[in-house]
Structures are given as C-alpha cells and as structure tokens.
Symmetry: C2
C-alpha cells in the first residue's frame, strides 16, 4: 500500500485527485497508476484502470486471477466493473468512499471469486485526499 | 445506430465479441469504437470505453453532457460507470444484456441526468452477437 500511496502523492503533485494503485503478482509490481483524469481530460483515466491496462500488458493476457491490487481509495463502479472483468484475485483498499464506492451497489460489482480487504492504512490513504480538497478550497 | 452496427461488424471480423459504439455531438460523430479486449488483451477495451476516450479527446474536456452514445448492446457496469463520470446526455442501446447489463444493479449506475433509451434496432444488434457465438461453437 506504500507504493500505492506514492502513486497518490504523484497525482497530488499533478493537481489530480490523489488516488493511487499498484497491481502485484508473485511479489512483483506489474502495473501501477494514479488518477490522470485532468491531465488526459479523460473520465476513464482512474488509477485502477491505468494499473489494470499496464498489468494485463505485462501479463500478456486479459485476466489477473493470481494478482492483487492495492488501491488507496475504495474503487468506483467503473473500476470495480473493470476489476471484475479481469477476475483479479484480491482487492485491497485503504479508505472507503461512501459517496461513489462500489460497495453501495447490489448485486456485487466485483467478481464472485475476488477477495476484498478494506481499511488498510486507511488514515494515510484518507488524509491525502482530505488535505488535497482542503488546499483546493483555500 | 447503423454506425454503431458497422463498428460491431468490424469487431466480428477481428474475432472480437461484436459490440460497437459511436458518440454523437451536435449531429457529428466525435468518437467511435468496437470491442478490442482480445487484440489488446485488455479487459477495459470495451467499445464504449474506446468511444468515450476518443470523444473526450475530441471535445478537449472530460464531460460529454451535450452528447449521446449509440451502443449496440446494453452497457456493462464498467461502461455505465464511465458514462456516469462523463455525464453523457443520452445513452441509446440496442439489445439488452440480462447477464451483465447495468440495469440489473441498484442504485442506478448511470448519472441521474442521463436519459436512457433501449431497444433501438435491437434485432440487428442482437443477431450479430448470436451469430458470432453460434459460429464460435461450431
């Protein structure tokens, strides 16, 4: 999750909503990304989407069954849908997103075989978001 | 929708699940795409995602409020989530997808201001999919 936080910090430096993600397979990072919706003017350029595209490229296939994604914030429905298509083995996220998080939808947006873990380093993952929006409001 | 069907046909010729999409703004096509998940080995490469990225690029901004998307099949949750982020004005789809369509989820995955129209040229949109899977099973 420290690596995902590094990505989130990189996003903050680029004036993007600071969310970061890394995808790990067999102990190795095979994809990483941070939110780039502003720079790319593309609403699909979320941290998870960029990390998924990078990871499937690295794997040479469109499934990520043996991988896990670490993401600083609870994925939105778009990203959850993409993670479902990838059949990723595990999703580990930091802070919850009660407004747009995937977990408020039913039936589940994630693949039935995907393990979900939440709250990992949630204070750090949440603080960077709160600080970002605080600085924006000044 | 005829243009979206052309995209779906292009997908079929590439051995991709034949789904196509076009995004129209003020009578002009500003983005188009067809499913490319196999060729790109990328589960995020759905017709709608490719069309959204192309359209926002053409618009120079990440919102598509004044646009409509024509897509041959009901969008999945990933694509619905992406369309929600784009705040697209209208979603017009052909055949329903009772297995993975966005409409089976609640609350709604689409943006509250997006108008939804379904069943447009649904026989043509559905036939190309059915034919594709029939030929695969041979």
């Amino acid at each position: 999750m420290l690596e995902a936080l590094k990505e989130a910090n990189a996003a903050a430096l680029e004036e993007e909503v600071p969310i970061g993600a890394v995808i790990v397979c067999k102990g190795k990072i095979i994809g990483r990304g941070h939110n780039m919706t502003e720079r790319l003017k593309d609403p699909t350029a979320h941290a998870e989407m960029i990390a998924i595209t990078a990871a499937t490229e690295a794997m040479g296939g469109k499934y990520l069954n043996d991988c896990r994604i670490y993401v600083t914030v609870e994925p939105c429905p778009m990203c959850a849908g993409a993670l479902a298509w990838s059949q990723i083995g595990e999703v580990i996220y930091g802070t919850a997103d009660p407004k747009r998080g995937f977990s408020m939808f039913s039936p589940s947006l994630m693949h039935p075989k995907t393990r979900i873990k939440s709250g990992v380093m949630k204070e750090d993952c949440g603080r960077i978001i709160t600080d970002f929006f605080k600085s924006k409001r000044k």
